[in-house]
């Protein structure tokens, strides 16, 4: 891997950028590996990278049915924050946020992490109480989160409409200043490049069609479109398709898959200096470096793998955006798309071992896993390498649905992303 530096950039600029080599190897499958990761999204690639970089497991394949980073990784609105309510969640999302802060440097790849602040709006007394409860819990855990009055919220985001006559007036906001956004593609590419340089094989256009188990029940490898690949350890990191993959090993999951949509507007000069989220009226917005407003909508109400989502879901969000930010009313939307998100009953992820020896799973990130990409990959890699859960991952075990020890971010916050 050729490292990026001021010197290499200058040299290539002067040579018309003719000297760059591909950033990772597009590998063909070998017959066997020490570990196979199913799914080359951000989480799967991060897992492979940390396996190779920190756990000494380098004979690893990442097997992807489409192209690298073409799933939810490339479809999400890239909101990053760590101000969740419960201690288990605070631990994993804050672990991740700390990794984001140094990620571009660690990977030698610009992931464009931009801590521009995530502001979550309160529109009702209930919202205000919930957000303040989060603020207090976060501060006890040493995580930044602060309360803003409507005037302070408008100072932070000048185009926010704080007119008290609104149908859902802004009563205040919770602000996490270290929250922000990052470049989703760059995260997948950066991990792929760094993992590939350490010897990880990234195998694209190779759907896993079966999970082979031996007479003892343990995993032996995966059947793919390009033949059988053997490995004593398999980690499934397939987001919305996790139920389908785990069913191949005979494991039924506490998951449901829903379409989640996003849209971008035509590009405009900078108007939106931060990320604004409103859970009550279901709208999320930020502005990309290209100038497009990036808008996240809600999920459809029914399970689906259609990767589209209903138009009425997106238009509900646009109505809310137009009321909160009247200045954007005449903007046109350029594109909309959907991803399939895997939702758990308590809206917390599932990370760890499964009833099948050698089979591991990392899923259930639902509508909000992009922010967790580095932390999730990190703790999952350690879990696979040791065979037992990393301490931060341990509370997120699949078994919690049997013991009843849920991590109920849904009831706590009713928050997406």
């Amino acid at each position: 891997m050729r490292r990026f530096s001021l010197a290499t950039l200058l040299r290539e600029a002067l040579r018309g950028h003719t000297g760059w080599a591909p950033q990772w190897r597009d590998a063909t499958p070998k017959p066997a590996y020490d570990a196979i990761i199913v799914g080359a999204g951000g989480h799967g690639l991060a897992t492979a990278y940390y396996l190779a970089a920190e756990c000494g497991v380098r004979n690893v394949a990442v097997v992807e049915k489409g192209w690298l980073g073409g799933g939810n990784t490339a479809r999400n609105t890239t909101i990053i924050r760590s101000n969740y309510l419960w201690e288990e969640s605070e631990a994993i999302y804050e672990h991740s946020l700390k990794l984001w802060e140094d990620l571009s440097h660690a990977l030698n790849y610009n992931t464009m992490y931009s801590p521009r602040g995530v502001m979550m709006l309160a529109h009702t007394v209930h919202d205000e109480q919930v957000l303040k409860r989060h603020i207090h819990a976060n501060r006890l855990a040493g995580i930044d989160n602060e309360w803003l009055s409507p005037r302070e919220a408008q100072e932070f985001c000048p185009i926010l409409n704080t007119d008290p006559a609104l149908r859902y007036p802004v009563l205040g906001a919770a602000l996490q200043r270290r929250g922000g956004v990052a470049r989703h593609d760059a995260v997948a590419w950066g991990y792929a490049r760094a993992a590939s340089a350490l010897g990880v094989d990234i195998i694209q256009n190779c759907a896993v069609t079966g999970i082979r188990r031996g007479a003892d029940g343990a995993v032996q490898g995966v059947e793919t479109e390009r033949g059988f690949i053997a490995a004593p350890q398999v980690g499934v990191v397939a987001a919305g398709h996790t139920s389908v993959l785990m069913a191949m090993a005979g494991v039924r999951m506490p998951l449901e898959s829903f379409p989640l949509q996003a849209l971008v507007s035509e590009p405009v000069k900078p108007v939106m200096p931060c990320v604004v989220m409103s859970n009550t009226i279901h709208a999320y917005i930020s502005q990309s470096d290209k100038g497009e407003l990036v808008i996240g909508a809600g999920t459809d109400v029914y399970t689906s793998y259609s990767q589209r989502g209903g138009l009425h879901i997106a238009s509900d969000t646009l109505e809310a955006i137009c009321e909160l930010f009247p200045t954007v009313r005449r903007l046109r939307m350029l594109r909309s798309w959907g991803g399939i998100v895997d939702v758990t009953p308590d809206r917390s992820p599932i990370i760890g071992t499964t009833p099948v020896p050698g089979l591991f799973v990392n899923c259930g990130w639902g509508t909000g896993g992009f922010k967790a990409t580095p932390g999730s990959g990190h703790v999952f890699a350690h879990t696979i390498a040791k065979g037992t859960p990393h301490p931060i991952a341990a509370p997120f075990a699949l078994d919690r649905f049997r013991t009843g020890r849920l991590i109920d971010e849904a009831a706590a916050a009713a928050v997406a992303h």
Binding site: M253, Y302, T303, S304, G310, H312, R402
Partner: protein, 91 residues
């Protein structure tokens, strides 16, 4: 947006008239005290979540108010049939 046929009203109606109510044909354990934690987890949380045909419950909240079931293809989102609650899953 789906167009859903309510089997009671015998009318095709737009999706916002309905509320989705999760997977269908899930039977609550008959003897709760004899039910293990693993069986409760199956009943409460574990779902087939198929890529293909799903049987699911809908409620016609802005119409007759009643629950019914639908078979739907989760890849095309096409509704294959709707039928009254209590009736077995059609072939």
């Amino acid at each position: 947006m789906l167009i859903i046929r309510c089997p009671y009203c015998e009318a095709n109606r737009p999706e916002p008239e309905f509320r989705h109510a999760g997977a269908a044909h899930i039977v609550r354990p008959l003897d709760p005290s004899a039910t293990t934690d693993a069986e409760w987890a199956e009943f409460l949380y574990h779902r087939d979540n198929p890529r293909g045909t799903v049987a699911e419950r809908w409620r016609h909240i802005h119409g007759c108010g009643r629950f019914f079931n639908a078979l739907r293809d989760t890849v095309s989102d096409r509704i294959l049939s709707t039928y009254p609650a209590g009736q077995g899953r059609p072939e």
